[in-house]
């Protein structure tokens, strides 16, 4: 897997300083885009937070997820990658993604959480170093807080200045996962919701050490736990990964849970846990297993292999705007696409890191991951499939295909419910992680 590198280049470290008798948290920004185009150090917001304790704790929780890895295979190194901030006209969204690629967190500071509206829209990285986290820790304990994302002040940027540079590797699977988790969100539906007290009790009752995925089943008295899936349940895979919600529970007004449709035979699934913090929302999205990153899901590979979706995405990309939500109907009408095609194109854009998905509002929003050319990283399974199809290794027959891969030959069977393959990878995952490269190659060749 290719590993790109991202150079964070901040005008200086994020700082905390006194400001008119109040504390000001000044988040340094690096790279990204604004409504006006790419920017080195975007300046999005400066204003008071109306609920500073909850907001500070939410930001800290985001930073914690960015610093965490919940599964530690030898090839996953915990590298601190800074959170990403998106300013969407009336709100700020802080996002982070764990090193293991299996947990995504987003804090949405809703309009009422900000005393003033953001000054500009766009996406950027923000420095969350030790000093910043310490300052936020202090803010959690109380007191008014002025938050600035970027700065309008003149920045000395050069060899003689106080530029803070840090280079971090961006593995392809991390990049892909960051994008794909949004597209997976669009496939989730609400499972249930409970009040703040019930949320605290339920979340604290979940055994952290469970080895198998558990399932949260909504019922009359709130959620209950089960060991196997049933329709309408949400998966809790690797419950220890929900520890990030712990410090936020005292602020919780409620909990909403989201998940894809499951049936009794489902063995694992992604899920999203959204804490309602009053003026903010904190959403934790978990991959289907603690050892699986989102990048391995592959549920979007068929979409990415669809050339129509790619072209439609290019068309839509130009007219996304920076509003808090993307109006699918309006966008489709503007671009002259049908709603399903526009929806597929947005899925494509999500997987490519161009849009995020807001579960509470069930809508996409524009968010261009500020990772530059690294986002062009190819999906290896799709690349392998394209290579197989291009090399003539696929013989399409009636209802399926024979795909020669190395010295093995695999039979792909097309089906109404799902395609099948005889390769060990398919045998192991049975389509739960999307199509294997042989199925993709067969579909490409059959097209």
């Amino acid at each position: 897997m290719a590993v790109a590198e991202l150079a964070y280049r901040y005008p200086g470290p994020s700082v905390v300083r006194g400001h008119d008798g109040r504390r000001e948290v000044l988040l340094a920004t690096s790279g990204g885009v604004t409504a006006a185009g790419p920017a080195e150090h975007p300046f999005f917001f400066s204003g008071l937070l109306t609920d500073p304790a909850a907001a500070a704790q939410g930001m800290l929780a985001c930073a914690t997820i960015a610093r965490s890895r919940y599964f530690t295979p030898g090839n996953v190194v915990a590298i601190l990658r800074d959170p990403v901030v998106t300013s969407s006209e009336d709100r700020l969204r802080f996002e982070s993604f764990s090193s293991c690629c299996g947990v995504h967190a987003r804090l949405d500071l809703l309009p009422a959480a900000l005393a003033d509206a953001p000054m500009a829209s766009g996406t950027t990285n923000v420095d969350f170093g030790d000093a910043m986290r310490a300052a936020l820790g202090g803010a959690v304990l109380g007191g008014p807080l002025l938050l600035s994302v970027g700065s309008g002040e003149l920045v000395v940027d050069g060899a003689g200045g106080s530029v803070t540079e840090r280079k971090v590797p961006l593995p392809g699977r991390w990049l892909k996962g960051f994008g794909e988790v949004q597209a997976l969100g669009a496939q989730m539906r609400p499972v249930g919701k409970v009040t703040g007290t019930a949320a605290r009790r339920f979340l604290r009752s979940i055994p952290r050490s469970a080895r198998r995925p558990l399932w949260a089943i909504p019922g009359r008295g709130g959620f209950s736990l089960a060991a196997s899936a049933s329709p309408g349940a949400a998966c809790i895979a690797g419950p220890h990964r929900m520890a990030g919600l712990g410090p936020l529970l005292r602020f919780a007004h409620g909990l909403r849970v989201y998940g894809p449709d499951v049936d009794r035979d489902s063995t694992e699934a992604p899920s999203a846990w959204e804490l309602d913090l009053g003026l903010a929302r904190f959403t934790l999205t978990l991959s289907p297993e603690s050892y699986r990153g989102f990048s391995g899901e592959g549920a979007l590979l068929a979409l990415l292999a669809d050339e129509d979706a790619a072209e439609d995405a290019l068309l839509l990309g130009a007219s996304l705007g920076w509003g808090p939500r993307i109006d699918l109907g309006r966008l489709a009408a503007t671009a002259g696409l049908t709603s399903p095609r526009a929806s597929a194109a947005l899925g494509y854009l999500a997987a490519s890191g161009w849009v995020g998905y807001d579960l509470a509002e069930q809508s996409f929003f524009r968010r261009e991951l500020p990772f530059g050319p690294a986002m062009q990283t190819m999906h290896p399974r799709l690349a392998s499939a394209q290579a197989l199809a291009a090399s003539g290794a696929v013989t399409v027959g009636d209802g399926g295909a024979i795909v020669r891969s190395g010295d093995s030959e695999h039979r792909v069977t097309f089906g109404d419910i799902g395609d099948r393959c005889t390769c060990p990878w398919w045998g192991k995952h049975r389509g739960s992680r999307g199509p294997c490269k042989h199925v993709l190659a067969a579909r490409l060749a059959a097209r």
């Binding site: 609400p190 529970l249 005889t422």
Partner: protein, 1047 residues
């Protein structure tokens, strides 16, 4: 003499000063030339490739033994080896000196090589003078990669402390001005131990035995005052520094008995330096308190609290930091909150803290997960009320926040506090009472009566207050319409049909039943009318849900085998694939080979992972089945499995293919099937299941027997294979017609009478008794066995002459002694789930026998670790699988599992079994008492498991009934944590009601302590309103009606 020669001479005589002088002014170019010239010395002698010292032909072996090896090797080879050894010894002597390592660092060609050299420095050169010399050489040289080298070595040392001490080297280079202070966290986290290797005191640390006294951290810090300016303060800002300080202090404390222990720990040292004025006290206090507000791990900040204790913070100092201390009440660590509480308590005692200010900050601590923290906060609030009665009403309202705590004992404490002051009439303000009532909505149902008695129960006014106010922010999520609501959120669902309407529906269904069944249910219905609760259903083993059509399509078979070679936990799929492979073996080999061609390579790979057909790994069996079906040949078994070289139970199938234990029956069947497939004549399996529980109807069996007879007539072949016949007989549903036995016996091998007798005998109910103790033989996973809860057969088990597998299944007369054999394959398989999942399918009409076998993996799960216990629990979760005494033992053992997911699975079984009428609270109570009194099960775990089980009124009611039924015996045995079970029963009983309480519970209620308090709550709950009692009764009746309606 040129530089290389001079350097070599200096190295060989270990002249460190000369090495430094020679390299001090050397340019990088000169160093490169020198490194090349001294390469042989720096690398050391190269040993030749190892060659055999002698070789002999087989016929010379006897001569060799007779003459001995003294003639070998030749004298010339011996001389060569001796010379090599001398060269090595000479080099090793030079390389052991510090001059050698100085030269290495002075000449090494880059940061990677330098990092390796730092790792290679031997232990004898880890003392301070040697580190000084190496640091000096590096500082003289000042390569541009020096800072990088230090960073790399610090990171490496933090994981593997080998080579030159990283922190000491870094510090010396910082002092020499060669590098800036590293920004790495490791520079700080390694400091607590690293300072002890600093000059000039480290000599005393490393000396054996060290002279008195060993330097304390304070001594070292005073000897290097620069550390007090920067490094010491980093200890308060770097994550995990607190942990390393804690470890260092713990080690020092542990060494207190040893004379040469350091005089002071780190916390004592810093307090000492502070007292000497070497550290700014105010800054030290602020940094120490600040550590609790940072996002450090909550478990790694205890050291900072220790330092605060050492600093003996005065009330005035606390008062100067009142906001900080109060802020700590919202800290994430227990230690941090405790520090805040101590500060607040002292301020309160000194009259320096206003009530409002403290009460504003109390909320987070009242909801803190740990009991001690929340209780301490309630005591603080109590102190506020006592000290400042004017603030009593607000304080009580704040205390009510604890009603939202997940622990019932915290809620109780908060309620007791409020009750105390209500009785003293210090809380009278209606607004405060309304606030308390609003919080009281969150109280556990078992506390509701007490709250109501205090006037804190819900009323018309509080109902409004309990509703969450509309979002004043105009949350767009709400504006857009809450998707959860739009989707018909089940959590918000209101009961469209109440229990009364459901009862009417059940009445109509009862009326439609046959008269006898309706009469039975009418009694239950009448009992409900009198406030009673219908009991469990009388459940007989059933066939279960039907399976899809048998596998007749090669593509479907290939798809199944593809999956099963990777994951065979779906026992039904394995059975279907087995039967399908045999059925489709009639296809020409060419067709099969082509169809399964893509699987052959993978099959070959999986086959090599384990011994196939041994009962250990079903995926391996499936791989060999695939291999044979694809046209491959069955490998010959040339190694006996029953010899003394193998552990008892290692193989559950003999080398001749006979199952040795029940755990080998499926593997033996796969082996038989593979032989049939290899013959290539096609066939069918008599034992192919028709339902999810593995049952076969008599009609189907008759058809199979007839079809099999036709096949034999047409293509030849012998009688059915033994294990296939046995399992078919065990799976055959009741009601087999007499004609079946004749037709079956015509297939050969067995008489109709024997078949019929075996069939009848294997349907007879068996009697079991629980057995508790440690199994015999070598422990499975740890050094000692833990206590197991198993079941043994009582009385003679009739032999079934036509079904040898029956003997294997019923061989449970001494399960503790035979455990190593019966559960043998598990020893070799961490993932044994696939095998366990298939056990209940072998004998669907003997569910108690299946449960007795499932008790083995379930007992395995009583000890933490990866076990098949969850699979074992889930294997019983079928409405057609009755739960008898052994089934309930298995269920309760699952509830007491060490693994949370097994407990949750058992809770699900409990809940489902309550819903379909299988769960009998009396049997569950008996099982619970057996396991807990027998010291195999922990009651705290059972209570935790049951907490997850109570997700429906009837499941909750059965929990209460079980707790009540077991209370007397458990109390009599003084079972630990009985209060946890009683507390759960009280909480659930307040909602679903309780049966008539046994005398033991009422006796317990008169006692003090936690157990007495929970028993009292249970007594109250039994007299309470129990709003869900009727719903529980309706659910119980619905289960009975559904059973009666089933064909």
């Amino acid at each position: 003499m040129n530089l290389p020669a001079q350097l070599e001479a200096a190295i060989r005589c270990n002249d460190a000063a000369a090495v430094r002088d020679l390299l001090r002014e050397a340019t990088e170019r000169e160093r490169k030339v020198c490194a090349k010239a001294l390469q042989p010395l720096l690398r050391g002698p190269q040993w030749p490739d190892i060659e055999p010292l002698f070789m002999v032909a087989p016929d010379e072996l006897a001569d060799l033994i007779r003459t001995g090896v003294r003639k070998f090797p030749s004298a010339e080879r011996q001389r060569e080896h001796a010379q090599l050894q001398r060269d090595y010894d000479e080099w090793h002597e030079a390389a052991s000196g510090i001059a050698f390592h100085m030269a290495v660092f002075g000449l090494v060609g880059g940061v990677t090589a330098a990092a390796r050299a730092a790792w290679d420095v031997p232990s004898q050169s880890r003392c301070d003078p040697d580190i000084d010399l190496i640091a000096a050489v590096l500082a003289d040289r000042a390569p541009d990669w020096l800072a990088d080298l230090v960073d790399r070595h610090l990171r490496l040392w933090a994981r593997h402390p080998l080579g030159i001490p990283a922190w000491a080297l870094a510090r010396k280079l910082v002092r020499l001005g060669a590098i800036a202070r590293p920004d790495l966290a490791e520079y700080t986290t390694l400091m607590p131990v690293g300072v002890l290797l600093l000059s000039p005191l480290s000599a005393s640390v490393l000396a054996h035995p060290p002279p008195e006294p060993v330097p304390s951290p304070a001594d070292v810090l005073l000897s290097d005052p620069g550390l007090l300016d920067d490094e010491v303060w980093r200890l308060f800002t770097v994550p995990d520094a607190g942990q390393t300080l804690e470890q260092a202090d713990r080690t020092a404390a542990w060494m207190q008995d040893i004379d040469h222990a350091p005089r002071q720990t780190w916390s004592e040292s810093l307090a000492h330096l502070c007292a000497l004025g070497m550290l700014d006290r105010d800054r030290l206090l602020d940094e120490c308190l600040g550590a609790f507000s940072r996002d450090f791990s909550p478990h790694r900040v205890a050291w900072y609290a220790r330092l605060l204790r050492q600093l003996d913070v005065s009330v005035a100092e606390i008062a100067d930091r009142t906001a900080t201390y109060l802020g700590l009440l919202a800290a994430s660590s227990k230690v941090g909150v405790t520090v805040g509480q101590d500060g607040a308590r002292r301020l309160l005692g000194a009259g320096l803290l206003g009530a409002d200010r403290l009460l504003d900050a109390c909320g987070p601590a009242l909801l803190f997960p740990q009991k001690s923290v929340a209780i301490a906060q309630l005591k603080l609030i109590d102190a506020v009320i006592t000290k400042m009665p004017a603030a009593a009403e607000r304080a009580a309202a704040v205390a009510a926040v604890a009603f939202g705590h997940e622990r019932q004992d915290i809620q109780e404490a908060a309620l007791a506090l409020i009750a105390k002051h209500l009785r003293r009439h210090v809380i009278r303000e209606p607004a405060a009472l309304a606030e308390i009532r609003r919080y009281a909505m969150d109280l556990s149902p078992s506390l509701a009566p007490e709250a109501a008695a205090l006037g804190l129960g819900p009323d018309a006014g509080s109902a409004d207050a309990a509703c969450e106010p509309a979002d004043p922010t105009g949350d767009p999520a709400d504006a857009a319409g809450d998707p959860a609501d739009a989707a018909g959120d089940p959590a918000d669902a209101t009961d469209g049909d109440g229990p009364t309407a459901e009862l009417a529906g059940l009445d109509r269904r009862i009326d439609a039943l046959p008269r006898a069944a309706a009469a039975d249910l009418a009694a239950a219905r009448t009992a409900i009318g009198r406030g009673g609760m219908p009991g469990p259903a009388r459940v007989h083993a059933g066939a279960g849900a039907s399976l899809p059509e048998p596998v007749t399509d090669p593509d479907e078979l290939i798809a199944l085998l593809t999956v099963l070679m990777e994951d065979a936990r779906d026992a039904i799929s394995a059975e279907r694939a087995l039967a399908g492979a045999v059925r489709l073996s009639a296809l020409p080999e060419r067709v099969r080979s082509q169809a399964a061609g893509p699987l052959r390579k993978r099959a070959a790979s999986v086959m090599d992972t384990c011994v196939p057909f041994s009962g250990q790994q079903i995926t391996c069996d499936m791989a060999l089945l695939t291999h044979v079906w694809a046209g491959g040949s069955l490998p010959t078994e040339d190694r006996p499995r029953e010899d003394r070289w193998h552990m008892p139970g290692e193989y559950a199938v003999s080398s001749s293919g006979q199952a040795l234990t029940m755990a080998g029956i499926f593997s033996a069947r796969v082996w038989e099937a593979a032989r049939v497939i290899e013959a290539g004549t096609g066939g069918l399996l008599l034992a192919e299941p028709e339902t999810r529980r593995g049952a076969i109807t008599p009609q189907s069996m008759l058809e199979r027997v007839q079809r099999r007879a036709r096949q034999v007539d047409r293509a030849g072949g012998g009688p059915p294979d033994r294990h296939d016949r046995d399992v078919a007989l065990l799976r055959l549903a009741p009601g087999a017609p007499p004609s079946l036995w004749g037709a079956w016996s015509e297939l050969g091998g067995i008489s109709p009478g024997t078949l019929q007798a075996s069939y009848r005998l294997t349907r007879d109910p068996l009697a079991f008794r629980a057995v508790l103790g440690e199994p015999a033989g070598q422990p499975l996973r740890r050094s000692e066995w833990h206590r197991h809860l198993l079941a043994r057969t009582t009385g003679p088990v009739p032999e079934a002459p036509g079904c040898p597998s029956w003997q294997l299944l019923t061989g449970l007369s001494n399960p503790l002694s035979d455990h190593a054999v019966l559960y043998g394959p598990r020893r070799y398989q961490r993932h044994y789930d696939a095998a366990v999942a298939g056990w209940p399918l072998i004998c669907p009409w003997q569910p108690e026998l299946a449960a007795a076998h499932l008790l083995r993996p379930l007992s395995d799960g009583l000890q933490a670790g990866q076990t098949p216990a969850t699979t074992a629990v889930m294997a019983m979760n079928d409405p057609a699988h009755p739960l008898g005494p052994v089934g309930h033992l298995a269920l309760v053992t699952g509830l007491a599992s060490a693994e949370a997911d097994t407990r949750v699975a058992a809770a699900q079984l409990w809940s489902d079994a309550c819903a379909d009428g299988r769960l009998d609270p009396v049997l569950a109570a008996t099982a619970l008492v057996t396991g807990v009194v027998g010291q195999a099960l922990k009651l705290s775990r059972v209570a935790d498991g049951l907490q997850h089980a109570a997700n429906s009124p009837i499941a909750a009611r059965r929990v209460v009934e079980t707790a009540c039924a077991s209370a007397e015996a458990l109390a009599g045995a003084a079972a630990a944590n009985l209060h946890a079970l009683i507390e759960l029963a009280a909480r659930l009983g307040a909602t679903v009601g309780a049966p008539e309480l046994p005398g033991a519970v009422t006796a317990l209620a008169s006692r003090g302590g936690r157990l007495g308090a929970t028993a009292k709550q249970l007594v109250q709950a039994s007299h309470g309103r129990a709003p869900d009692r009727e719903r529980a009764a309706v659910e119980a009746l619905a289960a009975l009606v559904a059973r009666a309606e089933a064909p």
